[in-house]
Symmetry: D3
Subunit: 238 residues, 6 copies
Amino acid sequence: MRPSGRAPDAMRAVTIERNVAMKAEGSCLIAFGNTKVLCTASVETSLPGWLRGKGQGWVTAEYGMLPRATGTRTRREATAGKQSGRTQEIQRLIGRSLRAVVDLTALGESQITLDCDVLEADGGTRTASITGAYIALADAVRWLEERKLTKGPVLKESVAAISCGIYRGAPVLDLDYLEDVEAETDANFVMTGSGKFVEIQGTAEGAPFDREELNALMNLAGKGIGELTELQKAALAA
Amino acid sequence: MRPSGRAPDAMRAVTIERNVAMKAEGSCLIAFGNTKVLCTASVETSLPGWLRGKGQGWVTAEYGMLPRATGTRTRREATAGKQSGRTQEIQRLIGRSLRAVVDLTALGESQITLDCDVLEADGGTRTASITGAYIALADAVRWLEERKLTKGPVLKESVAAISCGIYRGAPVLDLDYLEDVEAETDANFVMTGSGKFVEIQGTAEGAPFDREELNALMNLAGKGIGELTELQKAALAA
Amino acid sequence: MRPSGRAPDAMRAVTIERNVAMKAEGSCLIAFGNTKVLCTASVETSLPGWLRGKGQGWVTAEYGMLPRATGTRTRREATAGKQSGRTQEIQRLIGRSLRAVVDLTALGESQITLDCDVLEADGGTRTASITGAYIALADAVRWLEERKLTKGPVLKESVAAISCGIYRGAPVLDLDYLEDVEAETDANFVMTGSGKFVEIQGTAEGAPFDREELNALMNLAGKGIGELTELQKAALAA
Amino acid sequence: MRPSGRAPDAMRAVTIERNVAMKAEGSCLIAFGNTKVLCTASVETSLPGWLRGKGQGWVTAEYGMLPRATGTRTRREATAGKQSGRTQEIQRLIGRSLRAVVDLTALGESQITLDCDVLEADGGTRTASITGAYIALADAVRWLEERKLTKGPVLKESVAAISCGIYRGAPVLDLDYLEDVEAETDANFVMTGSGKFVEIQGTAEGAPFDREELNALMNLAGKGIGELTELQKAALAA
Amino acid sequence: MRPSGRAPDAMRAVTIERNVAMKAEGSCLIAFGNTKVLCTASVETSLPGWLRGKGQGWVTAEYGMLPRATGTRTRREATAGKQSGRTQEIQRLIGRSLRAVVDLTALGESQITLDCDVLEADGGTRTASITGAYIALADAVRWLEERKLTKGPVLKESVAAISCGIYRGAPVLDLDYLEDVEAETDANFVMTGSGKFVEIQGTAEGAPFDREELNALMNLAGKGIGELTELQKAALAA
Amino acid sequence: MRPSGRAPDAMRAVTIERNVAMKAEGSCLIAFGNTKVLCTASVETSLPGWLRGKGQGWVTAEYGMLPRATGTRTRREATAGKQSGRTQEIQRLIGRSLRAVVDLTALGESQITLDCDVLEADGGTRTASITGAYIALADAVRWLEERKLTKGPVLKESVAAISCGIYRGAPVLDLDYLEDVEAETDANFVMTGSGKFVEIQGTAEGAPFDREELNALMNLAGKGIGELTELQKAALAA
């Protein structure tokens, strides 16, 4: 039995609210249950020096968490003087995931920075960030297209992410914080709208896992990504 | 004529939404027009070493701005490796302003940290932060009172803050970003609910100002603080 | 009764010794009683990149304190690896105060950096820094004028600063360290030679203050700035 | 055809030289072809404060690369003032991988730090680090056992790591640098001696990959880990 | 011919003014010609943790230079965020030099920190710092002795320092900045009042030097240290 | 009697293995007994901005120590966030020592960086670094000469370094760690192949030393450098 009472293959309620940041070229507030992430896309049409003259653009991401997104206050990274290893790992993952569906040459000489800031954390902040950042990215690409600043279709397809895990012996979809703390195995899947893998990260937190368990997690992930893909389509069509 | 069409003594629409952060002991989302700040209060009932055994508590504040709160993306301070001088100046001001209305001995051996994170910036982020942080603080104090962790009335009275300035030769209340950039004089007033001064900071951005102009600004500030005090009362009574 | 026996409206003895730093384009050692600050002006006639080509110059300031300027040794900021919030607040204030009396276009494409280093601290280091930095600045401007590197009168008028406060219930001028620690209200005034305000910062350290008290402090400040202006004139005429 | 002429399922020559660091409680120099990593294990029998009194020990890892391990000189992280995101990601992975086979309670109140320093880099430095660190760890555990400082069998089983990838359309085992740069998909597998997964990380560098491709990579990884496990056994038996 | 017209074995005018820092337990302003260093000694009678309970004290030093001590402004180390290698090298030398004449057990459980801050730099700042720091140290020791906080004679003898060099082919004593820049060989000697060596550092800036040249420099240094020792005695007797 | 049983004027066994780093333009592994240092030379034929257009090149050095080169683990400087004062002192010394035998104009517009990384530390790491770095430098210079990138003979002669000290009252050559800890005086000599001094650094760790003792150390150093010079010649001829 999951703490939330969800079925093993049930995701939390996912909502996506677009255009929440007045000044950004793209933005959304995405919620996976009680996890809430504000994603903004910032376009720079003049590239930094090291990127110039290569006939292509760049997509990058930064991740942060408000100090009281968590149960007890977390120290502000700006005060600590550096981003933690965990933060860097996550923002590198977000950037890679988005670039996997972007045609950087078609993007032209623009850079898009996705900022994913966690307002409330209840497990799955990195998967919510990727899923929401895709929405902000898509709006920023539209912004560029309206200004005729692209050189062809920039987005090859959509991308979303979901976590799965082995919780009390059973494979479950979309871990919340209570499950995450206790799960024996924790895996994150970044997949395209057409169901291919962009990134897969599985970690045995307790006992090592076998191929059968991994297959079960992949099945769950496929289902979850399918649902997220529909939600992304609906949000972008609104 | 002000860019927003407001009368010289008219504030922007101010809204306060309480208890927006599920895990914090106190929180609110405060908006001064398009400026939006998320304020959370975090209570620690075990004090840091240097504060222990003095028979009193402490109230402190931190301030941050999401990278795309601004018109063009601002570099994340966690990436830069330090808080800017401006950020430190503002968070020191917020902390001082709140402590002015707190009886630290009555607070007992608890520390309350107020985090003010700007989601959207359109001028007046520091005054919105102080005004909203008071609400989060008041809720955190109630949380402590309900647990009988205080030693008497903690809050001596309310505190709020407002900016005024000389814009195109005329004294105006509650500058937005467009006015702030152009104002000859910019002043911030932190005042108690009973109308006394906690902090006053006036700066000539253009020509130096005289006592008459300062008096005009103080009159406007008194009016604005009166209105904010009523809004705070209403929010806390809700 | 003030610890020093001074009358409420009496400043400490102020002395200004010009040209104390052999290599600087302008310099002075200023003392407000036991507070001693070494102020130097450094001229760079080749501007940093971001300032170039704008047809104007820049004036900026840095502030520091020798470790044993204080009663117990203060940690060296170079060892700590960063400037404190207080230091940054002060040096930003010094820079703003000086720029208020400088015509940056007349300055031409030069940058002047004012370094204010406190050799002994006994209260009022920021006001002594501003008052002394003006002297160093004036000498640096003369240095530029002698080399015909300016494009017209650079200094619009003089600027000086003084602190006032409510000490044991009475408004007093030019707080020393003993008074500063105990004052209920502490205010710093930066004013021009013609008696206008450049910056005003008032803080309630104890009970909030009212408008009448603020008026009393402004009266004292006006008197003090008048005296400092005369001393500056005399120093620059010597 | 692979640049090295290897068959798709052929690893590079792997050698393990034990006890190369005179002063460490465990150490080895491991080579995967031209990739060479010096792994040392350092035992502290007095734990850092936050670990004390919990009746268990800890295993952690740090990773570094000599500046000229690479084709062009890489900036020294000690000079840059911080470890890169990549370095932190790798050292977190090494630590997690080793802890997966350690009984921290049986370890007793000791901490073992594994330092993996790359002397030459030719692809696969993280997998060589994990595989070699296990050897250094095993020797450090013996060192503790000889001194009767453990509370039972510390190592649950062995652990090793290998990379696989899709190179020019074909799944291949143990990518070297030339293959790594060009691979469409790059995956790292950390597995136990009994063939279970501790960690799996797969990334689409080019086109997203499907489940069939992932299965092919898992098959290769299983073969490679089998061979590494035999080499580890032989090294520890020597 | 030396730029200053001095004879090869002539030092610059050296002056020592004691008790210049009102709050320090010992202090002096020392000048070697145009080089001016403010030296303060700060006593802490409660030791930092790592020194406690060893039945002895500690003497340490820090070195700094005001930004405009030099011909063109030098960046403030507090702004740069760290002390340069040169600064660290010098402050380590000052600390070692003073500890060579201190009986740390007789000092008791006190720590004395010597701060040497260069107000004007014209060559020889490290030798002036050591020579002046000895004076501040001696006064701080007296301060401890008056309070009966020592356990016997703390100072074994005096210590001073001087530079020598090969300038245009000739050995000269006490290099000023113009000579320092051009010297083929530059050597610093730290010696006790009884004429023994505490530290010797010689560097070939141009051509390597031979033993004969080194002997000539040692002869000059002996003469210089003799004179400095007399000046130190006179200053402490005043 | 020395702990190692060596005669007072006997060095440890010194071995030099060239070309150990596959990718560097020059490299060697040098051992002074149990002290082992990996030295690599990296050539950049495009100079950093501040060096360009001066018609000359540059030679610089960096020094590091693997965490477990020492008896107990030393904190990694990349984790600490900065290089220690000791590290900076040593790398500055290595750079100066090598530049003393290099004709920077003949080098042309190339920069050579010597990285000296200590794999095992048993005293004398800085002298081994200098002696080994010369070998790596010589190979890097040959690499440039083969590509006709030099403008004449770059190396004026060879350079090597050795430590001496007063150990239990007697002058001894080439201190190992046990001697280094206990020595009353510790001196490092950097000398050319022709027997002249490039750098001499002597420090009294216990009692100050006199000129006679210094002469004895210089005699030992001369003998040691002679032997090292022969070993360097043999290594480069191999």
